[in-house]
């Protein structure tokens, strides 16, 4: 009896504290809103937004609703995050492996890269790329092409636009390739377990991924046209490249800064993972006669990945959250479009900030749930 009471009292007190804090805030919010004559509600999402967004992946203008503006912001956030994740993984893996290189110069260059880029605030790096580095680029009319067809100018990066015909068929063909690859992998595993033979799975998969879409091209079901950027004069002094696809400098700066910054953390995860595999594993694998490539593929990587993936996902999450710094250089992401412009116009602080926070929360929780599931799947099953 005594023990039970001893357990219940602190819980009750905590609950009381939390409830009273929340209650205090709610009552105040109610009073404040009554005073200013605002009703709480999400009805405003259907109203006409009447503001434009500079860069949007979907069709949008001022006549669309706030809900659509929210979607524009969300898609822009996802675009930056995905690009950032791809580039930070590439750079991070290279730097992480370079930090383990036997070459003194490579090792130390990589170490300096990591020490420098992770000790400078991300916001400063974004500002540096946007206001200093990218502003030093030439105007469109003076730009030399990179790779012959792309132009890196102060107004953005102009790349050829791909115009697909029957794009959905291409997607189906890729899906078909992926499904057949899964079958082949299963078959290869069975073959190895039963007969000890190994199929060159990687080569076959790459071949299938190439052949299936290629067939759709050859048979003429899918057609591809390329629209190259062409210099166009807007007025006497102002030029742009039309026709092609233009990547705005805000996006460039953001992706550059985010991927260079996050790559340092990914590099540390990769290094820790590879170092975390004990030397004995490598020696044991060598002593049973595996080739160096097989050792890397079958012994080191599966174990290293187990150490690398959880902290790396954490970094991906951080990158996604950090992409909200886009607001600082006016890249129209979720925070700028929704928690910035839309909030200014409607004045609905509580609704808008709560939607924004919930969105990020959902994103992070979804990714971390996925990761927990994956972690459990690959965890060593001890007997």
């Amino acid at each position: 009896m005594n023990h039970k009471i001893k357990n219940i009292i602190p819980q009750l007190l905590t609950l009381l504290f939390v409830v009273s804090v929340i209650g205090f805030f709610t009552i105040n919010a109610q009073l404040n809103m009554d005073e200013r004559g605002i009703d709480f509600g999400y009805g405003f999402l259907n109203q006409e937004s009447s503001f434009d967004v500079q860069f949007s992946l979907i069709e949008y203008d001022g006549s669309h609703s706030y809900a659509k503006a929210y979607l524009v912001g969300l898609l822009n956030t996802i675009l930056v995050s995905v690009l950032g994740i791809i580039f930070c993984t590439i750079i991070g893996v290279i730097i992480g492996i370079a930090r383990l290189s036997p070459n003194y110069l490579i090792r130390n260059t990589a170490a300096w890269y990591v020490e420098f880029f992770r000790n400078v605030p991300l916001l400063l790096q974004i500002f540096f790329w946007y206001y200093a580095a990218l502003r030093a680029l030439p105007l469109p009319e003076n730009t030399e092409p990179i790779f012959g067809v792309t132009y890196l100018t102060v107004k953005g990066y102009y790349i050829p636009r791909l115009i697909w015909e029957n794009f959905d068929i291409l997607i189906y063909s890729i899906l078909a390739a992926i499904i057949s690859i899964m079958f082949i992998r299963n078959y290869a595993r069975k073959l190895q377990e039963e007969k000890g033979q190994q199929l060159p799975v990687l080569m076959i998969s790459a071949g299938l991924l190439l052949i299936f879409p290629a067939i759709t091209f050859v048979t003429g079901m899918v057609q591809l046209e390329v629209a190259l950027p062409v210099l166009k004069q807007l007025s006497k002094t102002s030029f742009i490249y039309a026709e092609g696809l233009s990547v705005p400098p805000e996006l460039l700066a953001l992706v550059l800064a985010l991927s260079l910054y996050t790559a340092t953390f990914v590099a540390e995860c990769v290094r820790a993972g590879v170092q975390g595999v004990s030397k004995g594993q490598k020696e044991a694998a060598a002593s049973v006669g595996l080739t160096p490539n097989q050792i890397l593929k079958l012994v080191i990587m599966p174990q290293a990945l187990r150490i690398i993936i959880p902290p790396t996902t954490n970094q991906y999450l951080n990158l996604t959250k950090n992409s909200s710094l886009a607001a600082a250089i006016a890249y129209p992401d979720l925070v700028l479009v929704f928690a910035g412009t839309a909030l200014m116009q409607t004045g609905r602080a509580i609704e808008i900030v709560s939607i924004t926070m919930l969105t990020y929360l959902t994103l992070s929780l979804a990714i971390s749930l996925l990761m927990n599931w994956y972690n459990k799947k690959i965890a060593i099953k001890e007997k």
């Binding site: 357990n7 602190p10 819980q11 009750l12 905590t14 609950l15 939390v18 805030f25 105040n28 919010a29 009073l31 404040n32 809103m33 005073e35 290189s101 036997p102 070459n103 003194y104 110069l105 490579i106 260059t109 020490e115 420098f116 000790n119 400078v120 605030p121 991300l122 916001l123 400063l124 790096q125 500002f127 540096f128 206001y131 200093a132 502003r135 030093a136 959250k321 950090n322 909200s324 710094l325 607001a327 600082a328 925070v335 928690a339 909030l343 602080a349 509580i350 900030v353 709560s354 924004t356 926070m357 990020y360 929360l361 994103l363 992070s364 929780l365």
Partner: protein, 424 residues
């Protein structure tokens, strides 16, 4: 194959190979220097790609020629071991040497040799090609103290001296304070610090003029925000970590909810919340200063991260420690304070240092509520019509500043980690 065998040295002919090889490496480096700084290219007649890669090829042959195990020459052995153990590594080595040659001279030229620091106006910089450090010099006080009135800068300086002084008082009087040392740092010191900042920097009493927080800024604001962040988010994080490990379900779920919520949202939205949403939650006549709201938001946010780090330490402790403490008849708090936490905290020093580093690096974000520390002041200086066009200098200055602070902190945490490392 014959070709490669010719390039492979053996012990008999190593002397000759060494001379030829190092000669070739030297030629390749020399060629790059000539090409990039004097515009002289000896291999113009060769076809394009070969011409472009000629230094690399010559250098690779050179490295190939001096690659011999146990050559007997200690310097050569060292080079072979560290940068020349196979052709791939030799290529990377050459690339890095070339890149350094291409980048360092122009960069140092811009930063040091052609830079100006004289004068007080933009005119001093017009003549040179290099960096304009005059800009930093003129704006230095702004970068350090923000818009704080020039005459009162001594107040900020004294306040910081007092803060550091009081921090050391506890450190040097360890012997005398003994049992109260935790009490001093956990409770008394934050109060003293708050009073110092309140009376000296904020002013308003003792004949000191009131300076509103909007005028605070620059590096001193970075220090104030991160300082209060540090001292308050640590105890809060500790309580949350204990709550998450608690056996009482209500406390555990509240802690989990709190931690997961704050870890799931970006700091910038939290700051937005503190500036636009939080005033709605207070009684309409209550006024909380913007700076205090921001610091509170940062504390609540970082505490969640600190909690997760500390939880890692708590989980790493073997069960035996808990059982031993309980068997001695210790209650919950006694066990946590005297047995568990001291050991757990020791384990998580690197993690906590990383969180604190993240906090310092996050302070520039307070620009979203209109407070400007160093980066914010840079943005302000950059758009000043008298000083347009010197953004690069400002950013380099701020990067070096932040880099130095963060690097020093990470080094100190490594030192602490070594100092408190105990064998198990």
């Amino acid at each position: 194959m014959i070709n490669i065998n010719v390039l492979k040295p053996n012990n008999a002919n190593f002397q000759t190979y060494l001379y030829i090889g190092s000669g070739l490496i030297f030629i390749s480096i020399f060629d790059v220097i000539l090409r990039s700084f004097f515009n002289i290219n000896f291999s113009n007649s060769l076809p394009g790609i070969l011409n472009f890669f000629l230094p690399l090829i010559i250098g690779l042959i050179g490295f190939q020629m001096i690659r011999l195990e146990y050559s007997g020459n200690r310097i050569v052995d060292k080079i072979n071991q560290s940068v020349n153990n196979n052709t791939f590594n030799a290529g990377l080595t050459l690339l890095i040497i070339f890149l350094t040659l291409l980048i360092i001279p122009p960069a140092s030229n811009w930063m040091i040799f052609e830079a100006t620091i004289s004068g007080d106006t933009k005119e001093a910089c017009v003549a040179t090609e290099g960096a304009c450090w005059t800009y930093i010099k003129v704006w230095f006080r702004r970068f350090m103290y923000g818009m704080y009135p020039n005459d009162f800068h001594w107040r900020i300086n004294t306040a910081f001296i007092f803060l550091i002084g009081f921090a050391f008082v506890g450190y040097f009087m360890r012997g005398k304070l003994k049992n109260y040392i935790t009490f001093y740092y956990a409770i008394l010191y934050p109060i003293i610090a708050f009073l110092i900042i309140n009376f000296l920097i904020s002013g308003g009493s003792f004949g000191l003029e009131w300076v509103e927080t909007n005028a605070w800024g620059g590096l001193s604001l970075t220090f104030i925000v991160s300082f209060f962040g540090l001292i308050f988010c640590f105890p809060l994080g500790m309580i949350l970590a204990l709550g998450r490990r608690s056996e009482l379900p209500v406390i555990r779920y509240i802690s989990i909810g709190y931690i997961e919520f704050w870890r799931g949202v970006p700091l910038i939205t939290v700051l937005f919340m503190s500036s636009v949403m939080f005033p709605m939650f207070l009684p309409s006549d209550a006024f909380v200063d913007k700076l205090i709201r921001v610091i509170a938001a940062i504390i609540l946010f970082e505490a969640a991260y600190v909690a997760e780090v500390i939880r890692g330490g708590l989980q790493a402790l073997p069960r035996g420690q808990y059982d031993a403490a309980k068997s001695l008849g210790m209650g919950y708090w006694k066990m946590q304070i005297f047995v568990i936490l001291p050991q757990a905290l020791k384990l998580v020093i690197p993690g906590i240092a990383n969180t604190f580093l993240a906090l310092v690096k996050d302070t520039p974000l307070i620009f979203v509520v209109g407070l400007s520390e160093v980066v914010g002041m840079l943005q302000m200086a950059k758009t000043n019509p008298k000083w347009l066009g010197y953004a690069m200098e400002g950013y380099i200055f701020a990067s070096i500043l932040f880099w130095a602070i963060c690097y020093a902190m990470s080094r100190y945490s490594q030192y602490l980690e070594l100092k408190y490392k105990t064998e198990r």
